[in-house]
Structure formats: C-alpha cells, structure tokens
Amino acid sequence: MDRGDNRTRFANVVIPHLDDAYGLARWVTGNRADAEDVVQEACLRAFRGIDGFSGGNGRAWVLTIVRNTAYDWLRKNRSATVIHVDDLEAIERMQLADDAAAGDNPEAALIARADEAKLEAAIASLPALFRETLVLRDVQGLDYREIATITGVPIGTVMSRLARARRRVIETLGVEK
C-alpha cells in the first residue's frame, strides 16, 4: 500500500473519532493541554500503523491507541499516578458497603441533582482503570466487548470494574454535604 492510500485511510479511519480520542485522553490525563499532546502522539502512531487496521471497528482501534499512548505518557511524566495492577487488586478487595436500607431512596435524588463540578470531581477521584472503564461506557457509550478490546482485559473484568466504579461514584455523590 503506498503512502497516498495510507493518508486516505488515516483521514477516513482516525479523523472521524478525534473528539472521542480527545475525550478519552482528557479523562485519563486529567487535563486538556496534556490530552492534546497525547492525541497528537496517538494520531502519529495511528498514522504509522494504519496498515495494521484491518477494517471493522475504527473507533475501538483508535481508542486503543489513544489509551496506550496516554498510559505511556503518564508513566513517563507522572509515574506516581499510574495505578498498577497490585494497587487495583487491593482496592477491588475492599468490601463495598452494602446498603440494605429498603424504603426511601434519597441518594438517587441527590445523585440525579449532582452538578457538573461534583460529577467531575467524583469521577476524577476514581483509580485510573476504574475511571477509564466508566468513561468508555457512560461518556463514550461503548459496549462491553469494545471496552474489553480497548483496555485489553476479559469482559468479566470490564463488568467488575464498571460496577465498582459506579458504586464508588454513587457513594461519593449520594451523601448530603
């Protein structure tokens, strides 16, 4: 495949997903300037590797590259903030508070009223691997299989991370302050 073809493929496959790419990078890095650097680097990688795209789900392919680039960037620039698997397992072992409280459900109303700043803060405070799973599902609307592909884990792990991420955000938002 010559380079002209590659440029056309890049324009067709990558550029339509630029907003999603930027959105994911923003949530992973936590700020907009870093997200721009990550997306630019990811697009360069995508361009070089466009031969490796076999057709099919272009968005998942692009987001996989963005995610890997974002974590490489975090490791290089902010190694302390990257959550390693061991830490994550410790978090996942934590017993989740089981609210047996039947009857009224005041938390649901509080959560429904949470404003942008509170939502942002609650999601931003999640461990990185929980946060990306929640963002890919509830902000970007990807299905479990796509999220599994992008994050490189089995679907069972996606389900577990998503359930825990939502529970933690609910616990943060469902408390009257």
Partner: protein
C-alpha cells in the same frame, strides 16, 4: 445484594445481559427493594453524566495538526504491514468469547499472571508495533534490555528452526517490569516473557481468550510463551528455545 447481583444489575442496565438472565433479574427487581433502589441510583448517575458532563471536542488547532498528518509530507513515512490479520484475530476472539463470559461471571477482580501476560500480548498486537526494539539480531536485542532491567534475558536465535526473532519489549506484570522477546512463526506472533519464579501462578492454564500458553522453568526464572499458535507448535518453539544456544 451479592457481588454477582451487582454485576448482573449493571449488565442489565447496559443492555448486555442475555435474555435468560434478564427475565430472572426483572423478577427479582420486582421483589427486592434494595436491588430496585440500587438500580434507581445507577440510572440516576447515568442520567446525570449524560446531561451534565460537557461533550469534549478536539480544538480546531488540534484538528489542524492531526489533519496535517493526512496530507502529503516531504519526509517518507515507511511502515511495513502484516499485523492486520493478527489484530483481526484479537477482535474475533473477543466476539466469540463475549456471550459465554456474560453467563459465566466469576467472582471477578483477580487477574492471575497468565491473564496479565495474555493481556500484554493482545495489547502488543494492537499497538502500532508489538515490540519496542525491532531487530532480528539477538546481539542487538539483548543489549537493549541492559540498563532498563537488572538482568537482560536469555536470547536465542531460532531462525533455522522457523522462529525468527522480531524484537523485544518490556511488559509490567503486577509491579515488576519483565523482559519479553517476540518471535514469529509464519504469520503468528509469539510473546516469550521471563518472570522471577516467585510470580509463578499455581495453576497453569493452557488457553485464555483463544491464546495458548506454554510455561517452563529454568533456574530462577519461569518462561511463559503466549501465542495463537497451536499447542504442539508452541511446544516445539519452547523445546527449540530451551535447546538453543544463548548469546553470552
């Protein structure tokens, strides 16, 4: 509410539950107040995220910089193809596994070494290239690990046996950076990772998500070979690697 109830409830809300479980869960939602309340909270959260979080858009400046990549460049960008079919097989493996996985939900969370290695292998196949150092010369690959890891791995030339060296990369398993050599068998990629023996898992599964795993120990190290290559061929590879002469 058990952990499994939560997973099923979340999958139900996301429309990812199979029909048999949907009926069962809807019956329970009608009876179980705590479960119904949790559903209301999750729906409230999803609604708030949908309505209040701003839609992130790439800035015009970023768009221009990226679009410039797609325009003719004065410098040559050269990349050899060939990974396409492998990336496709990753996607196919997920497609095949998804329904079964949804029904057979385990306790979740725990990721044994074999799973982490398969995940690294899959991520590498989906990256723009599966190696960080590309070389078929073991005298180039081995020194590349020096200075990055306390010990560089044993590197064996297996070209004559049909397993040319592609290069190497560093994977992080748990908190430990470990060397991974990448070999090729026809169109298949083999990731061979050397781990300290202590991180060896008790069970030794032979296939995860369609990838075969062959494991052996050599002195203080456990070697794990991961590939979509058939088990007998992967075992041939392991045998050849063990018998091969390493770079001093």
């Amino acid at each position: 509410m058990t952990e499994n109830d939560r997973l099923l409830l979340n999958a139900y809300i996301d429309g990812e539950l199979d029909p048999a479980h949907v009926l069962e869960l809807e019956r329970r939602l009608a009876e179980d107040r705590a479960l119904a309340n949790e559903r209301a909270r999750i729906e409230a959260l999803r609604g708030a995220m949908r309505e209040r979080l701003p839609r992130e858009t790439a800035s015009p400046a970023l768009r221009r910089r990226v679009a410039a990549l797609a325009r003719p460049q004065p410098f040559a960008v050269n990349w050899r193809g060939g990974w396409a079919s492998m990336a496709a097989s990753v996607v196919a493996a997920f497609a095949a596994g998804s329904i079964a996985t949804l029904v057979a939900i385990g306790p979740g969370g725990r990721e044994p070494v074999a799973e982490l290695l398969v995940a690294s292998h899959m991520r590498a196949l989906m990256a723009s290239q599966p190696v960080e150092v590309t070389s078929s010369d073991r005298h180039t690959v081995k020194p590349w690990f020096n200075g990055k890891l306390p010990e560089s791995p044993r590197v064996v030339d297996l070209t004559a046996q049909g397993f040319p060296l592609v290069g190497g990369r560093i994977d992080v398993i748990g908190l430990t950076p470990v060397p991974t050599l990448v070999y090729r068998a026809r169109l298949h990629v083999i990731s061979l990772t050397a781990l300290p023996l202590s991180s060896r898992a008790s069970a030794s599964p032979h296939a995860i998500e369609g990838y075969n795993i062959v494991e052996w120990t050599d002195g203080p190290l456990a070697y794990w070979a991961v590939s979509d290559l058939a088990v007998p061929e992967l075992e041939n590879f392991a045998k050849a690697f063990r018998a091969g002469e390493a770079v001093p």
